[in-house]
């Protein structure tokens, strides 16, 4: 049997890519009976230095990882944290295949001191956030100019709030509210989703 062990080769599920004696089975592969097979359509990567066989997927499911930028819906706030539901990864069309329940600790909302998470985030807000921990629970941060609330509703009448200086303004109830805002609050361009 000849092994088609060449980096860059396109492989399909079930294709044999290496022998388990020579490589460790990495992402996109699995080991069975001393051999390593591809588990998905993609490009083979035989990493000589780490002795790992990987397949770089053509159309990977979205599994949240540290550093990912996501959109999340704030569902509840407690003094110590805001509970969120991650709705999408920025720039991706697919729904998320891993845990979507996440939280933002009060110390990770802004770079400055925050007393209570509910001071700067409220249920119903939509935030752009970065994943700082994916396992065992998803932790997000909204600290940084590009992160924070990108759309908020008035806590009284649920009208979308408008930006007014550093704060938000409800045109209907005529009062201001404060949030940790992203620099493009209600003005951002939707990235073209990639398949």
């Amino acid at each position: 049997m000849i092994y088609l062990s060449r980096t860059g080769r396109k492989v399909l599920p079930g294709d044999e890519v290496a022998i388990a004696e020579e490589y460790i089975s990495g992402e996109g592969t699995y080991e069975a009976d001393g051999r390593i097979y591809a588990s998905a359509v993609g490009e083979l990567d035989l990493d000589m230095s780490e002795k790992t066989a990987r397949v770089i997927l053509e159309n990977p499911p979205i599994v949240l990882m540290d550093g990912d930028v996501v959109f999340a819906d704030v569902t509840d706030t407690k003094p110590a944290m805001a509970i969120c539901s991650v709705v999408a990864q920025e720039g991706k069309k697919r729904s998320i295949s891993s845990e979507t329940l996440a939280s933002v600790h009060v110390s990770k909302i802004a770079s400055s001191y925050v007393e209570d998470a509910g001071d700067l985030l409220r249920a119903g807000d939509l935030v752009r956030a970065q994943v700082i921990q994916a396992e065992p629970s998803v932790q997000l941060t909204t600290s940084g100019p590009h992160f924070g609330v990108i759309r908020a509703l008035c806590t009284v009448c649920r009208t979308p709030l408008e930006r007014k200086g550093r704060d938000l303004w409800c045109t209907r109830c005529e009062h201001d509210e404060r949030r940790k805002l992203a620099d493009d609050y209600r003005e951002f361009e939707l990235a073209k989703p990639k398949h």
């Binding site: 000849i2 060449r6 079930g14 588990s39 295949s97 891993s98």
Partner: protein, 255 residues
Amino acid sequence: MGGTPIPNDIKLLDENGKRVDGRRPDEMRPIKIEAGVLNKADGSAYVEWGLNKVLAAVYGPRECHPRHLQNTTRALVQCHYNMAAFSVDDRKRPGPDRRSHEISKITSEALTHVVFTEYFPRTSIDVYIEVLQANAGTRCAGLTAASVALADAGVPMRDLVASCAAGKAADTVMVDLGKEEDNFGQADVPVGYVPRTEEIVLLQMDGELTHDEYTLSLKMAIEGCKKVYEEQRNALKRRYQVRSVDAVEEPKGVA
């Protein structure tokens, strides 16, 4: 099966050993597979197999609904087999009947065997199979399409599942029964098969076969599965433009 008398004008096997549509007993109907045919789905496939036209779409892995079905350690593969009202001669009432529920169940089970469900706990991998035009063998075409759609969706799996049936008509064992052979024949054995590991993951049988006829039917169906498997792989290669050089084995010593 076997209960319906054969109309006089239908001859399931002629003097030359040819079937109603001119095939030999070991000859399959033409099969055409295309991967990635829909925009909205995460993965999709279209299978035209004889006069069958079947679409499959995969959504997920995604949050599992209804929530009580969630498995904290695995993804749930949920198949939904459905026939369009106009896919058959007598209009089918829309919505699932007992037959489609059964096919959905056995198809889900066949696919679950090859999918690495442990990678995506609490999620659901939803597979929708739509029969647009039916002409015997839609469960095999559906399973065949579904496994290409799963691969197109990047769902990690041990191998593709290929499917094909064999059976008996006019006292002859033959592969891939057509509509007349299915209606007026004597037995049908649909099989779902994982070629790499030689595992059978879907198996049904109805009608009457002797032990030898059954053995031959199963072997013929598996041979059919292997041909279907090649077409499934070709469809994925076309979709992802696998260069022919990638598919060719390298001479010894080069790698």
